[in-house]
C-alpha cells in the first residue's frame, strides 16, 4: 500500500511507504492512498502546505535541487525508495492480486509517473532478469517466474549459441566459491569483451554473488601506456607525496571493492603492474603508490580482457593466476542465424533510438549477413548505425519520405557482401522471405531503453543540429549533403579507430578534473592546434588538463610555480612558446589567477611533446590536388583541411588556358624544398595529368602515385589516412578502390627498357602443356615474322606469380597480347582460350600483330634517318601519349589509324631536338584552340609528357594539326 503527497495542481508526487512520515511534510496522516488496483483515493489534507522545504526554511535554489533529487529516489532519508523498486513492488503487488502482464502505460498511469521513466525502469528490471517481457504492442511486462529467471547473459547464450561455452564458463567463474575466480576474456577487437564483462556483473548481482549496486569499474590499460606511473597510480591509488605534486588518490581497486574490476587490454599492463596485480589476486592485499607501511585489502573479482595471444603477452606468473580463459569467437566463426539476429537487433535498437520506423530491403539485409567484418560485432553494429544515420539524414533533409534503406544506400564494403555471396553457399540460400524488413519505433525485443537516453541521443541529435547549423550558414544542396555525410562518416570512422575508448577516458577525466578546467583545456588545445597547424595528441589534452588542474591548485594554495629551464625551452620552441603565452592569458581571463611566466614554459613542453615523441612518424605522405578550372582544387583542399582541422592538403589550380608545363612547375614548387620521403599522392581530375607523376618521381626522387577522376571524398580519405601516418601505397590502394573511374598510368612508364622483340604470351594454370599447345596453334595460323616474334608459353601457380613472370618478359619483349583463362593485366589485350582454339580471335590478333610489326619496321627505318631521336624508345612513348588522348576523348583509336601520326611525331620531335623551326609561316590554323576547348586541352595535356621528356615545345600549328586529326576521328565515331 502506498500513499502520495501531491504538490500543486500539476501533480508532483512524493512517495511514501505505509507507516513512515512523508519526506515532504513529515506528517504520517493525510495523503492520497492507492488501492490494490493501483488507483488512488484522495486523502488530501496535505497539498502544498506545510512542506518540509518551507518548514526548514530552505532557500529557493536548494528547493529545486531537492525536487530534482526526488526524480529517481523518491523518499530521502533512511527509508529511501527508488522509483525502480516501487515499480517492481507494484508489479509484485498486482501479481498477488492476479493482475499479470501489464504495460508501462498502465503502470505509469497508476503510479502517476512519466511513461518513459517507467518504461526505462521496466527495461532495467528486465535486464536484471527480474521481469519478463512479452513482444507485441504495447510491450507487456510481468514478474519473472521462479529462480531461473533469465538474465541478459542467458539471453545472450540463447541468441548467440556460439557463446554458450563462454557463458557457462563465465557463470562458473563468478559462482566459484568462495569469492569467484578471476577471468581472462580473449577475443578479437569488437567481439564484445566489454559487454560480456558487464553482463557477468549483472549476472553476479542477479545470482546474489554481489549486492545490488555493487561496483563495476572498468579500466583500459592501453590508456596510459606511455606513463606507467600514472597507470599504476590509477589502478592502485597514490599516497600523498609519492612523487612531486602527487596528492592522495584512491585507486580503482579500492573503488571496485565488493564488486568487479574490468581491465581491458590487459596485455598493455607493464610487467610491474602485472606483478602487483597478482600479489593482489593471491592475497587480496595491495598498496597505494608510495606506501610502504600500510597493507590495504579489497574484495574484488577481477575480469581481464585481451585481444592478444595470452601466451606471448602476459607474464607466465600472471597467466597462471588466472585459470579461467574465456574465448569469444569472432563474427566469422558464428552462424548465419546468429549474425542475422545481431543485424535484426541492431536495426531494432536504432529504430527505438530514432523513434521512427526503419525499413530495410531484403537485399540490404543480405549484404549485412555476408560482408567481411574484420572488427567483428562492434563493426557490424557501427556499420548498421552508420547506414541508419545516413538514411535518417536523407529523411531529415527531405531527400526521402521515410527512413528506408536500400542496397544502394550501403557503404561500399557492405555492398561488396552481395558479390561475395557466391563464396558462401549457405548465405546465398539463407532464406529472407520478406521483401522489406520493418523495424518499429517501439521495438519488441530490442534491448534499449526507450525515450531519449543521454548517450543514444547524440548521433541523431548531432545530425539535426549540424543540419540546422549548415542551413543557417546558407549552405544548401549537394554541398550540404556532402558535409553532412562527411560529418557522419567522421563520427563513425572515429569509432572504428577505437577512439570510442576516448569517451570512457573522458569520463574518467571528468571525474578528476573540474568541468571549467576541462573546458579551458579544450579551448587551449583548439587554439594551439590552429596556431601550430597540427593536431595535438589526445594524450596531450588529458595530460594538459591534469596539469592545469594541479597548477591552479598549487597557485591557489600559494605554492610558487617555477620552471628551471624556462629560457632553454623558450629558445628551443619559439612557436610553441608564443602559443603558450597566449594560452596563459586565456587561463588568467578564465580563472582570475595570475600565472607566473614559468607556467608558459610548462605549457610549451606540452605543445612540443607531440613533435619530439613522434618525430619518426611526423613525416607524412604529401597530398596534392590538381584540378582544371579556377579555384576548383583550392576549394576542395579548403573543405578537407577545414574538416580535418589541419593544413594537410596542397592545391594547385589549373585555369583552362594554363600551360601544363607551368602547372607542373607549380606542383613541383609546392612539394619542394624538402619533399616528404614517404612520397606524394596526386589527386587529379583528368587522366591527362596522370603523366605528372613520372616526372615528379624522377625529379624529386620520392615515390609518387596518382589518382585521377578524384572528388572531394577521395581527397578527404587520402588526407585522413595521410594524417594517420599511412604509407603511400596503402593510401593509394584504398583511395583507388574508392575511385570509380580510376585510370592507370601510361603503359610506357614501365617500359623504359628497350624492347626490340614482340611477344604473345600464352599462360595456363594447369601446366605448361596447354600453353605449349596454344603456342603451336598461334604459330600455325598467324603468319608472323620469326625475326620479330616470340610466342612465349608460361606456366603459373597463381595470378601473382603470373604477374611476376609477365614483368620479367616485358623487360625484353613488348607483349602484344596474352592468351589465358584470366585477364592478367588490364593494359594488355587479352584473349580467352576458347576464342583462340576456335580461331575466332585470330583475325583480331593478326590485326594487333600487324600494327606492332608496322611500328617495329618504322623504328628500324627511322633509326638511320633521324639525327637526335632514338625511335625504339620514342615510338612507345608517342603511342602511349596518343592512346591517352584517345582515352580522354573516349575514342577507340585503332592502332592503324595512328600509324601516320606516330611517324609524323617522330619526325617532329627529331626536328625540335635539332633546334629547327617547325611551323613555317603557316598561321592560318591558329584559331583551333578556341573552336574546340576540350579537344584542344586534351591534346595539349596529352602531349605534355612528350614535351617534358624531350625538353621541347610543340608549337600551336603542330598542335592544331593533331587536334584536327582527333576531331576527324571523333567525326568518324559520331558518324
Amino acid at each position: 500500500m502506498f500513499r502520495r503527497h501531491v504538490v500543486g495542481k500539476k501533480a508532483e508526487f512524493f512517495w511514501l511507504r505505509e507507516g513512515q512520515p512523508c519526506s515532504r511534510c513529515f506528517r504520517t496522516d493525510g495523503h492520497d492512498t492507492a488501492d490494490k488496483g493501483g488507483r488512488f483515493s484522495t486523502g488530501g489534507a496535505v497539498s502544498g502546505q506545510g512542506r518540509a522545504a518551507d518548514r526548514f526554511n530552505v532557500s529557493a535554489g536548494s528547493r529545486q535541487e531537492f525536487a530534482g533529487a526526488v526524480a529517481n529516489v523518491l523518499i530521502k532519508g533512511g527509508a529511501a525508495v527508488k522509483r525502480v523498486d516501487l515499480v517492481y513492488e507494484t508489479l509484485q503487488e498486482w501479481e498477488r492480486n492476479g493482475k499479470r502482464w501489464v504495460s508501462a502505460e498502465e503502470l505509469a498511469l497508476a503510479l502517476g509517473f512519466d511513461r518513459a521513466n517507467v518504461s526505462r525502469d521496466l527495461n532495467r528490471l528486465w535486464r536484471e532478469g527480474k521481469v519478463q517481457k512479452q513482444t507485441g504492442r504495447p510491450v507487456r511486462f510481468a514478474l519473472a517466474r521462479g529462480p531461473k529467471a533469465m538474465t541478459r547473459l542467458d539471453r545472450l547464450a540463447k541468441q548467440q549459441p556460439s557463446l554458450t561455452a563462454a557463458v557457462e564458463q563465465g557463470k562458473a567463474a563468478v559462482l566459484y566459491p568462495p569469492k569467484g575466480l578471476p577471468m581472462l576474456i580473449v577475443g578479437e577487437t569488437g567481439t564484445g569483451k566489454s559487454m560480456f564483462a558487464e553482463l557477468l556483473h549483472e549476472f553476479a548481482v542477479a545470482a546474489g554473488r554481489f549486492p545490488p549496486g555493487a561496483p563495476f569499474v572498468t579500466f583500459n590499460c592501453a590508456d596510459y601506456t606511455n606513463t606507467p606511473q600514472l597507470l599504476l597510480g590509477q589502478l592502485f591509488g597514490i599516497r600523498k607525496g609519492a612523487y612531486t605534486g602527487a596528492y592522495e588518490q584512491k585507486g580503482l581497486i579500492e573503488k571496485a571493492d565488493g564488486g568487479i574490476l574490468f581491465l581491458d587490454e590487459v596485455h598493455r599492463l607493464p610487467a610491474e603492474g602485472q606483478e602487483m596485480l597478482f600479489t593482489f589476486i593471491d592475497r587480496g592485499i595491495y598498496r597505494r603508490l608510495g606506501e610502504t607501511d600500510v597493507e590495504r585489502t579489497a574484495n574484488v573479482l577481477l575480469i581481464c580482457a585481451t585481444t592478444e595471444d595470452p601466451e606471448s603477452n602476459l607474464l607466465k606468473t600472471f597467466r597462471r593466476r588466472i585459470p579461467m580463459h574465456i574465448l569469444l569467437p569472432p563474427l566469422e566463426k558464428r552462424t548465419l542465424d546468429e549474425r542475422f539476429r545481431l543485424v535484426m537487433q541492431f536495426f531494432q535498437e536504432e529504430a527505438v533510438r530514432l523513434g521512427k520506423e526503419i525499413d530495410v530491403s531484403a537485399n540490404a539485409m543480405r549484404a549485412f549477413l555476408v560482408y567481411p567484418c574484420p572488427n567483428n560485432v562492434g563493426q557490424l553494429k557501427a556499420d548498421v548505425q552508420l547506414v541508419c544515420a545516413k538514411a535518417y539524414a536523407d529523411y531529415v533533409t527531405g531527400k526521402k519520405q521515410a527512413v528506408r534503406i536500400h542496397r544502394a544506400d550501403l557503404p561500399f564494403q557492405v555492398q561488396s557482401g552481395l558479390l561475395l555471396e557466391k563464396k558462401h553457399p549457405q548465405a546465398a540460400s539463407y532464406s529472407l522471405p520478406r521483401r522489406w524488413y520493418a523495424f518499429p519505433p517501439h521495438g519488441g525485443e530490442a534491448d534499449v531503453e526507450s525515450g531519449p537516453a543521454a548517450e543514444s541521443e547524440s548521433v541523431y541529435g548531432a545530425i539535426e543540429r549540424k543540419y540546422g547549423e549548415l542551413k543557417e550558414r546558407g549552405i544548401v544542396g549537394d554541398e550540404l549533403d556532402l558535409l553532412l555525410e562527411m560529418d557522419i562518416k567522421h563520427y563513425f570512422s572515429q569509432y572504428m579507430k577505437g577512439v570510442d575508448r576516448r569517451i570512457r577516458d573522458r569520463r574518467d577525466l571528468e571525474k578528476m578534473v573540474a568541468p571549467d578546467v576541462l573546458e579551458l583545456t579544450e579551448a587551449m588545445v583548439v587554439y594551439a592546434e590552429k596556431k601550430l597547424g597540427r593536431r595535438l595528441a589526445e594524450k596531450v589534452m588529458y595530460a594538459l588538463a591534469m596539469h592545469i588542474q594541479t597548477a591552479i591548485n598549487r597557485l591557489r594554495a600559494g605554492t610558487i610555480v617555477s620552471h628551471p629551464k624556462l629560457n632553454e625551452v623558450r629558445a628551443a620552441y619559439k612557436q610553441e612558446f608564443a602559443v603558450a603565452l597566449d594560452c596563459l592569458q586565456l587561463m588568467e581571463e578564465r580563472t582570475h589567477i595570475d600565472f607566473p611566466i614559468d607556467e608558459a614554459g610548462f605549457l610549451t613542453m606540452f605543445f612540443a611533446f607531440h613533435e619530439e615523441q613522434a618525430e619518426e612518424r611526423e613525416e607524412r605522405v604529401a597530398i596534392v590536388v590538381v584540378m582544371h578550372g579556377n579555384g576548383v582544387a583550392s576549394a576542395m583542399a579548403d573543405v578537407v583541411n577545414q574538416l580535418l582541422a589541419a593544413a594537410c592538403v596542397h592545391a594547385v589550380d589549373m585555369p583552362l588556358d594554363a600551360d601544363p608545363k607551368r602547372i607542373y612547375e607549380q606542383v613541383k614548387a609546392v612539394l619542394q624544398p624538402v619533399p616528404s620521403k614517404k612520397g606524394v599522392l596526386l589527386l587529379v581530375d583528368m587522366g591527362s595529368l596522370v603523366s605528372f607523376s613520372n616526372f615528379l618521381e624522377k625529379e624529386l626522387a620520392v615515390p609518387v602515385r596518382v589518382i585521377s577522376a578524384a572528388s572531394t571524398p577521395h581527397v578527404l580519405e587520402a588526407a585522413r589516412k595521410a594524417m594517420l601516418g599511412y604509407a603511400l601505397q596503402e593510401i593509394y590502394e584504398e583511395v583507388k578502390a574508392a575511385a570509380p573511374f580510376y585510370i592507370r598510368g601510361p603503359l610506357w612508364e614501365e617500359e623504359a627498357a628497350e624492347q626490340d622483340m614482340l611477344a604473345i604470351v600464352t599462360a595456363c594454370f594447369t601446366g605448361k602443356g596447354s600453353a605449349l599447345a596454344l603456342k603451336h596453334i598461334l604459330e600455325t595460323y598467324l603468319p608472323l615474322d620469326e625475326r620479330m616474334w616470340r610466342i612465349i608459353p608460361i606456366q603459373m601457380a597463381d595470378a601473382e606469380e603470373a604477374r611476376q613472370t609477365l614483368s620479367n618478359v616485358a623487360k625484353h619483349f613488348r607483349i602484344v597480347c596474352i592468351v589465358s583463362h584470366l585477364c592478367l593485366d588490364e593494359r594488355i589485350p587479352h584473349f580467352s582460350l576458347e576464342d583462340v582454339l576456335s580461331l575466332r580471335a585470330m583475325k583480331e590478333i593478326q590485326a594487333l600483330a600487324d600494327v606492332e610489326e608496322i611500328h617495329m619496321h618504322m623504328a628500324r627505318e627511322l633509326t638511320g634517318h633521324l639525327r637526335h631521336l632514338a625511335p625504339a624508345r620514342a615510338i612507345p612513348a608517342i603511342r602511349a601519349a596518343l592512346a591517352a588522348i584517345g582515352r580522354e576523348l573516349g575514342l577507340e583509336a585503332d592502332g592503324r589509324d595512328l600509324v601516320g601520326l606516330v611517324f609524323h611525331l617522330c619526325c617532329l620531335l627529331d626536328r625540335l631536338l635539332s633546334g629547327e623551326r617547325t611551323g613555317g609561316d603557316r598561321r592560318a590554323s591558329k584559331a583551333c584552340g578556341h573552336e574546340d576547348g576540350a579537344l584542344y586541352r586534351a591534346v595539349k595535356e596529352g602531349l605534355f609528357p612528350l614535351e617534358q621528356q624531350y625538353g621541347v615545345c610543340i608549337d600551336e600549328d603542330e598542335l592544331c594539326h593533331i587536334v584536327h586529326f582527333f576531331r576527324s576521328l571523333q567525326g568518324k565515331r559520331d558518324g
Partner: protein, 100 residues
C-alpha cells in the same frame, strides 16, 4: 611520272620519298617523286599525275579528292602499313595501280 606526296608538314614523308625514288631507280623507271605539306599542296597539284596522302591527314582526303577529280588526277590515302614500314616499293606499286 610525277608522284606528289602530301603530309602534315612535308617532313615525315621525305624518308618515304627517298625510298620510293630508290625503288623506281631499281626498276629503271623515270619518276619525279616529291613531298609537300598540306598547306602548300594546292600549288603542286597541277604538276602531279598521282596524289598520295599521308594517313595522318586522312581527314583532308575528301577535300583533295575533290581537287583531284576537278583535274582528272587520282588521289588516295597511303596504306598505314606501308607508310609505317616506309615501304617505298609498296607505295610506288600503289601509285602505279592508281594511275592505271
Amino acid at each position: 611520272m610525277n608522284i606528289l606526296l602530301i603530309c602534315a608538314a612535308g617532313m615525315s614523308t621525305s624518308l618515304l620519298v627517298t625510298k620510293m625514288q630508290e625503288a623506281a631507280k631499281e626498276r629503271g623507271m623515270e619518276a619525279t617523286i616529291w613531298a609537300v605539306s598540306a598547306d602548300e599542296a594546292k600549288d603542286h597539284l597541277d604538276r602531279a599525275d598521282v596524289v598520295l596522302i599521308g594517313p595522318q591527314i586522312r581527314y583532308k582526303f575528301a577535300a583533295f579528292k575533290k581537287e583531284g577529280e576537278a583535274r582528272g588526277i587520282p588521289v588516295d590515302v597511303i596504306n598505314p602499313a606501308d607508310y609505317g614500314r616506309v615501304n617505298g616499293a609498296g607505295v610506288l606499286d600503289f601509285a602505279l595501280r592508281l594511275k592505271k
